[in-house]
């Protein structure tokens, strides 16, 4: 089976490093791109024809947060949303943010930081 293509979006570089490592170590994927701003991630999605199978999207990011990202992403007609699963990731315990993430039809699941390898594997390989 082909391994999924994964995009990571997070303003925290340590978390980006961590998540990438965890995904590699657990054997989920080797094909990973990462961005520290939502804008750069969207630019990449707009100009590329190969679209990630999975996006791990941080919620709180300055300038453009995870929810802003989703608004623009939704308008991207060249992406078949069926083939891409978005997981929102956050260390936040804010009830509003978590509910909003879970309620968004574009979001497959909300994942709490720190990411747990087993949980991640179960979710991503589902």
């Amino acid at each position: 089976m082909e391994l999924p293509y994964i995009m990571l979006v997070d303003d925290n570089e340590i978390d980006l490093f961590l998540h990438e490592k965890l995904i590699r170590l657990s054997g989920i994927s080797e094909h990973i791109v990462h961005f520290t701003t939502a804008r750069e991630a969207l630019e990449s999605l707009a100009k590329n024809t190969v679209i990630p199978n999975i996006i791990l999207l941080d919620i709180q990011m300055p300038e453009m947060d995870g929810f802003d990202f989703l608004k623009v992403y939704e308008q991207m007609t060249h992406i078949n949303k069926e083939n891409t699963r978005i997981f929102m990731v956050s260390s936040s315990l804010d009830f509003g943010d978590i509910s909003k993430a879970k309620a968004n039809p574009l979001v497959a699941e909300f994942i709490k930081k720190p990411l747990n390898v087993k949980e991640l594997k179960d979710l991503l390989e589902k």
Binding site: E13, I14, D15, F17, P62, E63, S91, D94
Partner: protein, 363 residues
């Protein structure tokens, strides 16, 4: 709060009544007497009147009509109706329409009327104090909400990074480079610590009593720059202080303001800047001080300029140490305590300049 003298408006079409009133009470209150309703409306717009007395029988506008009219615009003014004729319809109208607080029958006894005015003013003052306290509470509550929201993210995020690193080291069973992880843990701890320090600084600033004294700008600026310049030794400082007269203000707060603004000017330099610069210009005289802090750093996006003074607001920064979103909020709070004002001008990618005007409190 020092108790100010009660400001009393008395409206009556008979000049003799106005004169008698003024003669009786001019030592006790600040008295404004008018014989015409239009004049009274204008006065109420311009001066904060605490207690208004009106004669019921006036040719153009009755006392009740007058009170009914000023209710909406000046709801806090305590209303006292004075009348010689006690007819029940007037009393009913006075209460229902004029919403009067007191009813005084002519001829009035000076001591008695003074007591009524005193207690009316007291009622006004208590109501007003309550209003101010309520506004403070709303603000504190709003800050608390922001704080809880921010704590759930900003305080927790570095901890979760560290937990993740611990988990990763465990998974790698010692095969990874521990120094890389230690560096990352250190960065996370520093981030958390600077956030905590900022919050403490904010609350110290919010609580500290104002302490006025002489401010020597030259030495103050040197001291602030001296402490901060090690954070980025490549930055060139240009300092120009011109102090023409003794300046009185709260030195602690000016220190807080300068520290935050200069620290920002250093922090938000471009990563690849070839000649990072921070210009500090201060010009002070007997009236005011004008302070300008200018950098050639990353600048602020136009759409963010309005939000930068809000608590926990952060703009995207092009370098690695993002702010905690509390520095400029502290600046604004400190400025409001010393009566100063701040303006910001910024071009994204070119730099930012803050201009402050502080009043000289020596008078």
């Amino acid at each position: 709060m020092s108790k100010e003298r009660a400001r009393i408006l008395y409206i009556d079409d008979e000049d003799n009544n106005l004169k008698a009133f003024k003669a009786s009470f001019r030592r006790d209150f600040e008295i404004y007497t008018v014989s015409d309703a239009n004049e009274a409306y204008r006065l109420l717009d311009e001066i904060e009147i605490h207690v208004a007395l009106a004669d019921q029988r006036m040719p153009k506008v009755s006392g009740v009509d007058f009170f009914e009219k000023i209710q909406k615009k000046h709801p806090d003014v305590v209303r006292i109706l004075i009348t010689a004729y006690t007819n029940s319809q007037t009393i009913i109208d006075a209460v229902n329409k004029g919403k009067i607080n007191q009813y005084v029958v002519k001829p009035w006894d000076p001591q008695n009327l003074k007591n009524i005015i005193d207690s009316s003013y007291e009622a006004f003052r208590v109501k007003k104090e309550l209003k101010i306290k309520n506004e403070e509470l709303i603000k504190t509550n709003d800050e608390l909400n922001r704080f809880v929201y921010s704590a759930s993210h900003d305080l927790r995020a570095p901890l979760m990074s560290i937990l993740g690193l611990v988990e990763l080291s465990r998974l790698e069973k010692g095969n990874g480079d521990p120094y890389v992880y230690l560096d990352m843990i250190e960065r996370s701890v520093q981030k958390l610590d600077s956030f905590i320090q900022n919050i403490i600084e904010y609350y110290q600033n919010a609580r500290a009593e104002s302490n006025h004294g002489q401010v020597m700008f030259e030495s103050l600026v040197q001291e602030v720059v001296e402490t901060l310049k090690n954070t980025d030794p490549t930055v060139n400082f240009h300092i120009n202080v011109q102090q023409d007269a003794p300046f009185h203000s709260d030195e602690f707060r000016i220190h807080v303001i300068l520290s935050n603004l200069i620290s920002n000017a250093i922090k938000y330099q471009k990563n690849d800047a070839s000649n990072p610069e921070v210009d500090i210009m201060i010009k002070s005289d007997a009236q005011k001080a004008i302070i300008q802090i200018k950098d050639n750093g990353v600048g602020i996006l136009q759409e963010h300029l309005e939000s930068i003074f809000k608590m926990f607001f952060r703009t995207k920064t092009l370098n690695r140490t993002p702010g905690t979103g509390i520095g400029l909020y502290i600046v604004k709070e400190a400025l409001s305590k010393i009566g100063g004002e701040i303006k910001v001008h910024s071009v994204y990618g070119e730099g930012t300049s803050f201009e402050l005007v502080l009043p000289n409190l020596s008078n």
